[in-house]
């Protein structure tokens, strides 16, 4: 006897596997005849029709890095909130207080991150 939910998971993983195989096969079947010796002009990056200058991976946006950090924090917060919400009716007020404190403490770094991200001269 296996636990409830485990065979479902196997179906699901199988479904994803079948998807992958099907899409790859379709791609291989439909893949068009390739040019064996493409000219350099053909292989040049498109870049909105202009001649590419310099390295491709420049123009980095770092100003919004604080938001990325807040995403890490709030990912953790929302996973804990999910655990609380699942069992709200039996946990009741006694279990809600710690979660409430947890969320409200984590509002402070959000304020700091917003303040930093809105000042481009910091980055």
């Amino acid at each position: 006897m296996v636990a409830e939910g485990i065979p479902e998971l196997v179906y699901y993983l199988g479904f994803i596997l079948v998807n992958t195989i099907a899409i790859v096969i379709v791609l291989i079947l439909l893949v068009s005849p390739r040019d064996r010796k493409p000219t350099p002009e053909k292989r040049a990056p498109f870049e909105s029709g202009q001649i590419a200058v310099g390295r491709g991976r420049t123009r980095f946006i770092i100003q919004y890095y604080p938001y990325l950090l807040m995403f890490v924090v709030y990912d953790v917060v929302s996973m804990f909130l999910f655990a609380w919400a699942l069992n709200l009716r039996s946990v009741g007020a006694a279990g809600t207080v710690p979660i409430f404190i947890f969320v409200s403490v984590l509002l402070f770094p959000l304020g700091y991150a917003l303040k930093l991200a809105n000042k481009p001269e910091n980055w």
């Binding site: 950090l69 890490v72 924090v73």
Partner: protein
């Protein structure tokens, strides 16, 4: 069903790979990868040991929830340090970060 010792074996291999990376690599990001691997080995071990009893110890799962959260924050701080080091030195090779050496 799979014996628990197989899970311990996977955990030990992850730990060994992580330790190997920590001792032999020089790039700071690579060492961060190793630390994450060691974290994962520990988490896997805790979950596997919590299944040793039937019904399983739910405390093991809760410890792993905390551990994952802390590992995420450790990665965030570590990467911030790497960004700072890159800004100051334009290199993240740990053996070249020796400006504090007298």
């Amino acid at each position: 069903m799979e014996p628990l010792s197989s899970f311990f074996a996977v955990s030990i291999i992850l730990l060994a790979v992580g330790l190997f990376g920590m001792t032999t690599k020089r790039s700071a990001i690579r060492i961060l990868f190793s630390v994450e691997l060691v974290y994962n080995a520990a988490n896997l071990n805790i979950i596997a040991f919590s299944r040793l009893r039937n019904p399983p110890l739910i405390t093991g799962q809760i410890i792993v929830l905390f551990s994952i959260s802390l590992a995420a924050m450790e990665a965030a701080v570590g990467l911030a340090i790497i960004i700072l080091a890159f800004r100051l030195n334009s290199d993240i090779d740990l053996r070249k970060l020796n400006k504090l050496k007298g």
